[in-house]
């Protein structure tokens, strides 16, 4: 049901039946390693190219999520997913393997929550009985497409982020009363562009979009920061996170009433890992949410979480043509049900 200007309120509280996360070696060295279902020690997975490896990560996550849900792929009504690759090929080729009716979306690193919001809407409105949302990213494919060949010796500035190698998928269904994490609302973000042009400083580009969506969420739902146990952004990382705090102060949002953090800062230990300002990539918010946060919700540590995935909507071409970086953020609230 429509709530306010740009949000959905899920009256039937669709449940996240199961989820699965698959990550790469660097993520396996991070503080959340034990929360991921599969940790690979290899970026290539025996494939001929990085792109095929990214696909393999996603296919594994999807297959496992469906298994964890006690279903078969024939019973999944729709798959909503996207990634960073041109023409979102990782997802289209995975959808080819799965033969599930496919809705491809592009939200850059906000795809996790964009797809979850859409999937929840389909489940809540009765348009689907079982629906899967998913996304993936890969450090090498992202470097190759957006920046430089992986063996190229370029020095990254301290604002640069490290793209997560991994995939996260979640299967949703109507609420059958069995308890567990449920999706209760979603806020679809607008494209926000503050004129930042530096592709090595995504955090600064994305922070305004995150704050805009969070404010819209509170306006539309009538909720306040204190209503949530935790609010996390997708991948603002250290620079974007600091800016977001400042923007909340400026706009008088009492973010201190809740815990506010960022998936990009949670997945790696910046003091030990060579990850610059922190993590980025579609998989960042996906694996942290589906791997780590859902477990905390199930354990009862968190009752109400708002995940705000953030994405930079640039392409290598727009950057070369002198354009700035438009960004977007999508928010989804996940709650615990007995």
């Amino acid at each position: 049901m429509l709530k306010g200007h740009q949000s959905w309120w899920f009256e039937h509280r669709p449940m996240i039946r199961a989820a699965a996360t698959v990550v790469g070696p660097e993520e396996g060295r991070g503080p959340l390693a034990d929360d991921f279902d599969i940790v690979h020690d290899d970026l290539r997975l025996g494939q001929d190219s990085w792109e095929k490896a990214e696909r393999a990560y996603l296919e594994e996550a999807g297959k496992l999520a469906i298994e964890n849900a006690g279903l078969t792929k024939e019973r999944i009504r729709f798959y909503v997913g996207g990634d960073l690759m041109n023409q979102i090929v990782s997802n289209t080729f995975a959808a080819r393997t799965w033969t599930i009716p496919y809705i491809g979306v592009f939200g850059a690193c906000s795809t996790s929550m964009e797809s979850l919001a859409l999937a929840a809407q389909l489940a809540d409105s009765g348009a689907a009985d079982f629906v899967m949302a998913g996304t993936c990213s890969h450090n090498c494919t992202a470097e190759k497409q957006f920046r430089y060949p992986t063996e190229y010796g370029s020095q990254k500035p301290p604002t640069a982020q490290y793209t997560v190698t991994g995939a996260g998928c979640a299967v949703l269904s109507a609420n059958d009363g069995s308890g567990g994490p449920v999706v209760t609302s979603a806020t679809i973000g607008r494209v926000v562009d503050m004129g930042i042009k530096d592709p090595f400083n995504m955090g600064a580009a994305m922070a305004p979009a995150a704050v805009d969506t969070i404010q819209a969420h509170f306006r539309d739902t009538g909720r306040e920061p204190g209503d949530y146990d935790l609010i996390v952004t997708g991948d603002l990382a250290s620079v974007g996170y600091e800016i977001a705090l400042e923007l909340f102060r400026k706009h008088g949002v009492p973010i201190e009433d809740t815990r506010f953090y960022d998936c990009g800062l949670m997945i790696y230990d910046r003091s030990k890992q060579p990850v610059g300002a922190g993590a980025s990539g579609c998989a960042c918010s996906a694996v942290v949410t589906y791997g780590h946060l859902l477990k905390r919700v199930k354990r009862g540590e968190l009752n109400r979480v708002l995940v705000v995935a953030t994405g930079s909507l640039l392409s290598p071409l727009t950057y070369q043509q002198g354009e700035s970086i438009p960004c977007i953020a999508h928010a989804v609230s996940i709650e615990r049900e007995e």
């Binding site: 970026l43 992986t150 063996e151």
Partner: protein, 107 residues
Amino acid sequence: MQFLWAFLVGGLICVLGQLLIDIGKMTPAHAMSTLVVLGAIVDGLGWYEPLIEFAGAGATVPHGALAELERDGPIGVITGIFEVTSAGISSAIIFSFLAALFFKPKG
């Protein structure tokens, strides 16, 4: 003695490149293109030859592939376009091609 100057001059040219990247906020490709244009100007002013005498590899190594171009003038550059592939560019092509046949990027 030339060894010391090779180190110092080579190092200083790299510092110039670093400043272009850090303060000029240029990408490596922009910085390198700028340096190569500056090198052409230095050569045009007749300062390049003495620099090579003085600093040896400190001057030629940063310029590597394009040193020959700078000495031949415009007609030389046009007519000799197929001779423009100096030792630097040729060996880079050959070795890189071989590398691509036998190695995969590690990420």
